[in-house]
Each structure stands twice: as C-alpha cells, then as structure tokens.
C-alpha cells in the first residue's frame, strides 16, 4: 500500500474516514515508521492545542458582565436627582407665578383704590365748582 497522504492521516486522527480506510491506514502505520512519526507529530500538536486552553477568572468576568447588564445604581440616583430638580423647578415656577399673580391682584386693588379716591376728588372739586359757580 502507498503511503497515505497527510490529509488522510489528518482525517485518520479525527476518525473522519470510512471504517475500511481507517483499518487500512492503521495497518500501514504499524509497519511504516515515517507515517508513524507524522501521526505522532499530529497527536503532539493536538495535545499542545488542547493544553493552550486557559482557565480564566470567571467570577470577575461574571461580575463585570452583570455590572453591564444591571442598571447602574448611579443612574438610578441621577434619575431621582433629576426628578427632584424638576419638582423643585416646578414649585419655584409655581411659587413665583403665584407671587406675581398676587402682586398683580394687589396692584390692581391699589390702583382701583387710587382711581376711586381720585374720582372722589374730582367729584368733590366738581361739587366745589358747582358750589363756586352757584355761589357766584
């Protein structure tokens, strides 16, 4: 039997060949040091690759992921702060508006009073005039 190709040996390592071919290659390897060496190198490579698997700090990893998933408490605080600021602003606006309205109302009252007084004066002076005219 001819030497199996590198690709065939690779598929042999992965058990991805039909049974008859697997048996054929297996028999060949037993009597062929060159193919045996290639096969051993492949197995060495596979072992090395498997050993490059690392153990990571999964706890830290999970904590970091959960921090990104959970709504941050700072944001909640900001939201509350925002809400409080809006509330305060509304109360201020309301308070100031109330004051203005009250002042306006008072101002109108005063003006009304003054108007009444001045009207009264006119009437009085008119009366005086009438009195003055009539006395002449």
């Amino acid at each position: 039997m001819n030497h199996p190709s590198f690709e065939d040996l690779s598929s042999f390592v992965d058990k991805e060949l039909p049974d008859w071919r697997m048996e054929e290659i297996e028999k060949h390897i037993e009597g062929c040091p060159a193919c045996k060496e290639t096969l051993e190198t492949m197995l060495l490579i596979d072992r090395g690759v498997r050993e490059s698997y690392r153990e990571f700090d999964t706890h830290t990893f999970a904590v970091e992921v959960m921090e990104k998933i959970r709504p941050a408490p700072v944001r909640r605080y900001n939201f509350r702060l925002k809400l409080a600021t809006i509330g305060l602003a509304i109360s201020l606006i309301f308070g100031v508006s109330l004051g203005i309205v009250r002042d306006l109302y008072r101002g109108n009252l005063d003006r009304g009073k003054q108007q009444l007084i001045s009207q009264h004066n006119i009437i009085s002076s008119g009366d005086m005039g009438v009195i003055f005219i009539s006395s002449r």
């Binding site: 590198f6 690709e7 690779s10 598929s11 992965d14 991805e16 290639t38 190198t41 492949m42 060495l44 490579i45 596979d46 072992r47 090395g48 690759v49 498997r50 050993e51 490059s52 698997y53 690392r54 153990e55 990571f56 999964t58 706890h59 990893f61 999970a62 970091e64 992921v65 959960m66 990104k68 998933i69 959970r70």
Partner: protein
C-alpha cells in the same frame, strides 16, 4: 433563591429562571460557560484581552436574547454560535474602520489572517519548552485555520458540526484542519531538529 442552589440547579431550570429575568441564574450560566467562550473568542480575536472583551459582549447579547431560546435544545451550541458571530462581526467592523482610514492601515499591525513565519528566532528554540513552541505556533496560525482546528481538537466537534457552525462546507473544514496541522508541523520541525541536534 440562595447562591448555592443556583450552582446545583440543572441547566434547563437555570435558563427558565434567566428567561424570567432572574439575574442570579444568568450569573450562574456565565460561570458555567465563560471559560469556553473566552477561550474561543481569544482564538478568533487573536488575543486574550480582546477575547475577554468580546466574550462580555457575547453574554450581554445572550441575556438580551435568552427569552427566545428554546429550552429543549442544548445551550452551549447556541452560545458558541453567538460567540462566533459576535467575534466575526467585530472583526468585520474593525476591517471596515481600517479601510476608511488609510493612515490607520499603515500604522496597525498586519491582519491576523496573514501567517507570521517569523514567530520565534531559531536560536531560542532549544531553550523553550515544547508546549510553549506549540502554543506560539498555534497562535500565529491564520485565524481561520486556528479556529477550525480549535473547534475540532478542543471543542471536539465533528467536521459536519464545524461546517454547520462556521457556515462552510465539509471539504473546506477538512482542508483547513489539514493545512493547520501542516503549518504547525513545519514550524515544529525546526524546533524538533534543533533539539535532536543538541541532544
């Protein structure tokens, strides 16, 4: 529920709890699969730091989509698919960014798709452990060879499963694994020759 109980809980129950929004259950899912996800992401991205970062994106994506997961299926193949998609998406995004800026292309290191033949000077070979040499040779393989071999050797997938996972045909899987081993053997050859001569 106490933390210990989550650790003892079976996978389906954990998924169901996570689907209802139970963060502790999801944290337990992360604890169970993060090592495999970070390792796989590291192979695709080419560095541990990037693998770590992309793996976080993977779990955020899983959390967002966990409600749509069918509990009659195994969880890890779904996670693996999301990991591969997220990594390639990130690599594509980076490629786009590089293309938009010519200056960046000049400044950045060569793409991980380009095999680096000068990974170690020959003189140092005999001083370094075989394990490290294999690891280094594996790290410097082109990304598509590295990922395919990883899925075969570490994740223990068949050629058919790899083809399905990477959305390529079986012939491509076979030739990629073959090429990966060939390149690794060529790189190892120099090391083995040097150690044989010195012994």
């Amino acid at each position: 529920m106490k933390l210990k109980r989550y650790r003892e809980e079976n996978e389906v129950e954990l998924i169901r709890l996570a689907q209802k929004g139970d963060e502790r259950a999801f944290e337990e899912i992360i604890n169970r699969y993060s090592n495999r996800v970070i390792n796989l992401a590291t192979q695709i991205m080419g560095s541990r730091d990037e693998g770590w970062d992309v793996a976080q994106e993977v779990f955020i994506s899983i959390w967002k989509n966990i409600k749509s997961f069918d509990t009659t299926r195994n969880l890890y193949p779904w996670i693996r698919r999301i990991t591969i998609n997220t990594c390639y998406e990130e690599l594509r995004r980076r490629k786009r960014d590089r293309e938009t800026s010519l200056d960046d292309v000049e400044e950045e290191e060569p793409s991980i798709d380009i095999p680096d033949e000068t990974y170690l000077p020959d003189d140092n070979f005999s001083k370094i452990e075989l394990k490290e040499v294999i690891e280094k040779a594996f790290e410097t393989l082109p990304e598509h060879y590295r990922v395919t071999l990883w899925l075969r050797v570490v994740e223990n997938l068949t050629y058919e499963e790899i083809a399905e996972t990477l959305n390529i045909n079986i012939g491509t899987v076979k030739s990629r694994i073959n090429m990966a081993r060939k390149l690794m053997r060529d790189r190892l050859k120099s090391y083995l020759e040097v150690t044989d001569e010195s012994s």
